[in-house]
Amino acid sequence: MAAHGTIAGTREKHGLGRVLHDTRYVFWREMLLPLRDPFSLVFSLLQPLVFLGLFGPLLGAAVGAPAFGGQSTLQWFLPGVVVMIALFGTSMTGSNLQYELMTGSYERILATPLSRSSLMIGRALKEWAPLVVQGLLIALVCIPFGFVFHPLHVVAGLVILGIFGIGLGALSYALALVSQNKEWIFWGVQQTLLFPLMILSGIMLPIEAGPGWMQTASLFNPLTYLVNAERELFAGSVGTDTLLGLLAAAVTAAVGLAVGVKAISRNIR
C-alpha cells in the first residue's frame, strides 16, 4: 500500500515541529463540525451583539463615564465582551470531549500517533477560532457607534486570547477527563469557577468601583491582566498592560498544557 511510505515519511518529526503538525489536523477535524453545519456559527455571532446592545447601554447609565478611564463605554466594554466570548468558548473544550469519551472515539484518537499536546491545543483553538470572526465583526459593527477600530492591535489582542485559550482549553480538557462518567462534575466545576473569575477580572463592570478586597483578589486572577491588555490594545496602544497580559496568557497556557498532558497520561481504568 502507498500508505506505508507516507507514514515513514512524515512521522519522523519530533518535538515542537510534530506538535504543530499534529495540531493542524486535530484543529481541522474539529473545525469540520461547524463548517459542515454553518448555522451554528450564525448564532454564535449574534450572542456578543446581544451583550453589547443590551448590556452596554445599561452599563453606561448605571456606572457613568468617569469609571472607564476617560474612554467611551463602548470602547471600554467591547474588549471585555471579546474576552468573555473567549472565556466561554475555550472553557467548553472539554464538554465536546465528553461525548467522545462516552463512545470509543476518544480512545481511537488516543491510539493514533498524534502528540498529546496537539490533542488539547487543536481542540482549544477550534473553540477560539470563531472568536476571530466574532471579534472583528463586532468591532466593525460598533464603528458607527463611536468605537475606534485599530485593526492590528485588535488582531494582536486576539492572538493573546488564543494563547490564553490554549491554556484554558487544556484545563477544560483535563477536567473532562477527570470527571469522566460523571458529567455533572464537569459542569459544576466549570460554572462555579467561570463566574467568579469573570466578575473578579472587571470584564462586566470596572473592578475599581468595588471594595478593596475585590481589587486585591483581582490581582491574583490571570484574567484581570488579560482584560487590561485587551483594553489597552483595543484603545490602540501597546504598553505594560499588554506585556503583563501576554505573560498571563503564556503562564496559563504552560500550566494548562502541563496539567492536561498529565491528565491524559494518567492511567484510569
Partner: protein, 322 residues
C-alpha cells in the same frame, strides 16, 4: 512482531491494589492471527491496552513492531492499528471525513487518504453512507466503520479489542469476512481479544488463554482441545447389564469422571474420551463383548470452553467470579 517479558499491570482502586496482569510472556510472529481468550476481567484487554500504549506497564517490557512501548509509545502507535471496544467515529462527523482525518493523523497526504477511504468504504459496503453522520449509522455499520478506521493506514499489525461483542451472528460473520480478506491481501498480523470461545476457535490459528492475569495455555485451538479435553461421549445401555461395563468405561476415561443417570430401564454414562472418534468404535466392541451392547451413542468434539473448564475448573461463561 510482538515480544513481551514479564509484562505486568497493577491498578490501585480505592487504596486496594489489583494485579490485573501478572507478568505475561508473549511472542507473536509476523503474519500470525492470535486470540486472547478469557472471561471478563481476566486481563486480556489490559494486556492489549499495554501493547497498544494506551496503558503504561507497571513492570516488564514489551516490544511491538520492533519498538519498545515505554520508550517510544508514539513510534508504536504509528506502526500499529487499533480497533477498540467502543465505536471510533465521532457522533456528529461525516463518515468520510472521519476516515480521511484518521489517515491524516497517521501522516497520509490528503489524496492518498481520500483514495484509501473510498476503497475501504467500498470493500466494507459503506460506500453509500460516506456523507452520512456517524450517529445515523446502525450498530453493524458503525462497527464496520471502526474496521475502516483501523485499516486506514494499512497497518501491518492490527489489534482488535472484543471486535464482535454485541453483534448479531450475521454481522459477526460479515465482519470476520472483511478482516480475513484484509489479512489475506496484506499479510497483516492480527491480535484480538474475545470472550466468545467459538470465535477464538474458528477464526484464530493460535489461542492464548488468559485467566486471573496469567497465561494458562498457548497453542492452536485444535491442539488445546486434543491435549486438554477429550471428546464428550454419552452411551446408553440396558439397566440390567450396566454393571458389566462400569469398570470398562472407567478405564476408557483414563482417570476422568464417569457420570451416570438412569431412566426407563436405561443407564446413560457420560465421560471424556481423549481421541474419542478413533477410540469409540473399539469401545463399542468391548462393551458388546462384555455383554452390555450400547443402545445409543453420542460423541461431541470438545470446545475451548471444555479446555477452559479443564484448566480452571470453571466455565468460561461464568465470567471472572472466582
Amino acid at each position: 512482531m510482538i515480544h513481551t517479558d514479564k509484562l505486568a499491570k497493577t491498578f490501585t482502586v480505592k487504596k486496594e491494589t489489583v494485579d490485573a496482569v501478572k507478568g505475561v510472556d508473549i511472542d507473536v510472529a509476523p503474519g500470525e492471527l492470535v486470540a486472547f481468550l478469557g472471561p471478563n476481567g481476566a486481563g486480556k484487554s489490559t494486556t492489549l491496552r499495554m501493547l497498544t500504549t494506551l496503558l503504561t506497564p507497571t513492570s516488564g517490557t514489551a516490544r511491538v513492531a520492533g519498538v519498545d512501548v515505554t520508550a517510544d509509545p508514539a513510534g508504536v502507535r504509528a506502526r500499529i492499528g487499533y480497533i477498540g471496544q467502543g465505536n471510533g467515529g465521532g457522533h456528529s462527523f461525516r463518515v468520510i471525513d472521519e476516515l480521511v482525518m484518521q489517515g491524516r493523523f497517521y501522516g497520509m497526504n490528503s489524496a492518498d487518504a481520500l483514495a484509501r477511504a473510498r476503497e475501504l468504504l467500498q470493500s466494507l459496503d459503506l460506500a453509500d453512507l460516506a456523507k452520512r453522520t456517524v450517529i445515523k449509522l446502525s450498530g453493524g455499520q458503525r462497527r464496520r466503520m471502526d474496521v475502516a478506521l483501523g485499516l486506514m493506514h494499512s497497518p501491518r499489525l492490527l489489534f482488535l479489542d472484543e471486535p464482535s461483542t454485541g453483534m448479531d451472528p450475521q454481522n459477526r460473520a460479515n465482519l470476520w469476512e472483511h478482516i480475513m480478506r484484509m489479512r489475506e491481501e496484506h499479510g497483516t498480523t492480527i491480535v484480538l481479544t474475545t470472550h466468545y470461545m467459538d470465535e477464538a476457535d474458528s477464526m484464530s490459528e493460535r489461542v492464548i488463554i488468559i485467566d486471573h492475569g496469567r497465561i494458562i495455555a498457548d497453542d492452536t485451538a485444535a491442539r488445546l482441545k486434543a491435549n486438554l479435553a477429550g471428546d464428550l461421549l454419552a452411551v446408553e445401555v440396558a439397566a440390567a447389564s450396566a454393571a458389566g461395563v462400569r469398570g470398562l468405561l472407567g478405564r476408557a476415561a483414563a482417570g476422568g469422571e464417569v457420570s451416570e443417570n438412569s431412566y426407563d430401564g436405561v443407564v446413560r454414562f457420560r465421560l471424556r474420551l481423549p481421541e474419542g472418534a478413533r477410540l469409540a468404535p473399539g469401545l463399542l466392541l468391548e462393551m458388546h463383548d462384555a455383554g452390555a451392547p450400547a443402545q445409543s451413542l453420542e460423541l461431541k468434539p470438545p470446545t475451548l470452553d471444555d479446555v477452559f473448564l479443564e484448566l480452571t475448573g470453571r466455565n468460561l461463561r461464568e465470567g471472572a467470579n472466582r
